[in-house]
Amino acid sequence: MTQLKELLSTLEHVAKHPAQVINKCLEDKRLMIGCTPEYCPEEIVYAAGMLPVGLWGGATSIRNANQYFPAFACSLVQTTLELGMRGVYDQLAGVIIPAHCDHLKCFGQDWKVAVPQVRFIPLAHPINRKLEAAVEYLKSEYSRIKSVLEEIGGKPISHQDLSEAIEVYNLHRKTLREFTLIARDYCTTITPSVRHNVIKSGYFMDKLEHTQLVNSLIGELKKAPPEEWKGQKVVLTGIMAEPKEILDMFEEYGLAVAADDLAQESRQFRTDVPEGKDPLERLARHWSCMEGCSLLYDPQKNRRFMLKTMAEESRADGVVACIMKFCEMEEFDYPIYKKTLEEAEIPLLYLELDLATPSLEQVRTRIQSFAEMISLKP
């Protein structure tokens, strides 16, 4: 196997079998903290010497979570609670649950009762994030989380630990940004699902190690000249592009990913933690610096312009809205950016996604006709 292939298969393996990585972590006696969508201060967990593990639901049927959620909760919270109730996360020393949306507010409260064996660490971000008082408030939230982690880990987290963690994370962000840029020139090798797995594997690995792997991958890719791509390219927007079968469908119908505006992917790493003296304050200020996500207060919906620019700059042939069913955060934004993209004559596909009971045939038909439609565009 060439080195490129080896790297890709390692990353894919991690993305698909997180349990193995986690078992290794257990052997090493490193504590793990679950970080649920969409934004958690992973740096604090890392600074505590623990491994932050991303919990983004999964393809599973609901057998227990319906004791807490009626059918109209998004499948991200449904399936995460389901897995939690089945004991899948029992190895975690705690789970941080933010309250970005109404689903997550209740999810945290339900978790406390439904999965009492995995400690609930709540977090409520300030939505008026541009106010200076918001930074102060978020700092206090982070400081509480820091104390909880100190208690769990049995040792203090120093300023230096935090600053170092921020460096590790900023470097990781930079590397992933670089990867997403390079990936669009190698669409044959970096298929939609490969691209997704490269990014997703980072949720189950030490970020330092992940950065090294992705860096080597970038180096290997660059060794060959950019690949010619005869198919079309799209921008993905939304919370996440799962269930994973849809990415294979993109590939099947000749669609590559030019760029993404997904909460699970680029939204996590497009903004660095800013410079500053106090690391907790830097982390809190990071939240104020971020833009263009349905979870970030945006009274002028600048997200629509960001999306348009992203599609234009990445020379995408269209945009695919990956809408998690019942996610009102994304559902409210959709009609607004739809108008902007229509005005700019950028084709847009609405895909309603569900992790728990995916109706994939309908999705397939929609992807197929969209691919055909954009391939006919002059």
Binding site: Q67, Y68, F69, P70, F72, A73, A99, H100, C101, D102, H103, K105, C106, F107, G108, Q109, D110, K112, V113, A114, P122, L123, A124, H125, P126, I127, N128, L131, E132, A133, A134, E136, Y137, S140, E141, R144, S294, Y297, D298, P299, Q300, K301, I323, K325, F326, E328, M329, E331, F332, D333, Y334, P335, I336, K338, Y350
Partner: protein
């Protein structure tokens, strides 16, 4: 001799006036705002601003059976059917202004997420589409029992920002003396509203709970106004009189005292009313109208921040269960009817655990039904009626079990 003014008539007059005044103001070129139902109205009232409440309006549209065309219009614009129906009605209305009761379009909007975060997304869309300023007062979700001191500081700072923004929008200065008066008045009104709600603790209850939803409109739209106090004074007098006569709101008495948990199903309210009356179930209280009881020491900004943050939907599992437990005891409830509201995620997603908690703590009978506060398509009359029957059955079983237990406890042997 002119007929005696009833509180019901006065309420209708005040509500009609509320909507016509808004239109007149707009026509005169004055600024009009839209606000979420539990926005700290103290600030806009102090500025003497004309404000209407889209949730209240959407409810009125739905109760008059005008929701469907607007819901369909919103869907055709790309809004998912899964979104809160109040939002869909309002966002469609904003474009077509097609409703029996019209409201003027806003020049600015005021949003507080103490009932849900859905509102923020909805209001962002209004601000974007109409290109108008939006003021947001964000109250972080209370995962703990109470807001943290840091959250209080943050909210207070948002209050200051709100004042600054209102001054910019109106070009007028904020008058702190008037602010003090408005806070005083708002508290008096809240106390009167609480008193009216509590009078229904009497057995039999003097008021049918559905009436509460109507009177509540006044608390939504004019919490800081003098006329609201007058309305509740009248209502309280009427209720006290009924209580002194031992009169039930049901002709043949109330068989069962129940709390309605959640918002009404406006498009089907007549049906619900009849079905409940038929089974002799009286809705003596509801978790919903209580939300507008906002009591604080006038001038105490910490308390103001706290009270607006502690709205039921914004609180943790334990707090909500404690509140419900209190209601069960104070209102001597036999049961709770939970509206699993398709529109309202924040209310529905803790309900199941709330049901278990409250049942375990109080032994009260619990039943739920599927519905929607304004989308007529998400409600099945047959299910509702079957659930009422089932509730009545459990209540009577519970009652007889309780009686036999009492007999046993009294057994001298």
């Amino acid at each position: 001799m002119p007929e005696k003014l009833t509180s019901r008539n006065l309420l209708n007059q005040l509500q009609t006036r509320h909507y016509t005044n808004a239109y007149t103001a707009k026509m005169k070129g004055q600024l009009v705002g839209w606000a979420t139902s539990i926005f700290p109205q103290e600030f806009c009232e102090t500025m003497d601003l004309t404000v209407v409440y889209p949730e209240n309006h959407a409810a009125a549209v739905a109760a008059k059976r005008g929701a469907l065309p607007l819901l369909e219009q919103a869907e055709s614009e790309g809004y998912s059917v899964d979104l809160c129906s109040y939002a869909r009605i309002n966002l469609a209305y904003m474009k077509s202004q097609a409703a029996e009761v019209p409201i003027p379009l806003p020049d600015f909007i005021l949003c507080c997420n103490n009932i849900c975060n859905t509102l923020i997304k909805w209001y962002e869309n209004i601000a974007t589409e109409l290109n108008i300023p939006m003021i947001l007062i964000d109250v972080p979700f209370n995962h703990g029992y109470e807001p943290t001191p840091a959250a209080i500081d943050y909210i207070k700072s948002e209050f200051e920002e709100c004042i600054r923004q209102l001054e910019t929008i109106t070009g007028r200065q904020f008058n702190f003396e008037r602010f003090q008066e408005v806070m005083k008045l708002s508290n008096e009104n809240s106390r009167a509203w609480k008193r009216a709600l509590d009078l229904n603790q009497a057995v039999p209850a003097p008021l049918n709970g559905f009436e509460l939803f109507n009177y509540m409109s006044q608390m939504v739209c004019a919490r800081g106004r003098k006329e609201t106090g007058e309305l509740f004074k009248l209502l309280i007098e009427e209720l006290e009189e009924k209580i002194s006569l031992g009169k039930s709101c049901y002709e043949d008495g109330e068989k069962c005292r129940v709390m309605w948990d959640g918002i009404a199903c406006w498009p089907h309210i007549k049906h619900n009313y009849k079905a409940l009356a038929k089974s002799g179930i009286n809705i003596v209280c509801s978790s919903y109208p209580e939300a507008w009881v906002l009591l604080y020491e006038p001038g105490n900004m910490d308390e103001l921040a706290r009270v607006y943050s502690m709205i039921g939907n914004n609180t943790c599992m334990e707090y909500q269960a404690d509140r419900r437990e209190g209601e069960v005891r104070n209102f001597k409830l036999d049961g709770i009817l939970f509206h699993v509201n398709r529109s309202c995620k924040v209310m529905a997603f803790m309900q199941y655990e709330q049901q278990r908690l409250v049942a375990a703590r109080t032994g009260v009978s619990i039943m739920n039904f599927d519905g929607d506060q304004a989308d007529p398509r998400n409600f099945a009359a047959a299910q509702f009626e079957t659930r009422l029957e089932a509730l009545m059955e459990i209540v009577s079983q519970n009652k007889s079990a309780k009686k036999s237990k009492e007999v046993m406890n009294n057994d001298p042997a």
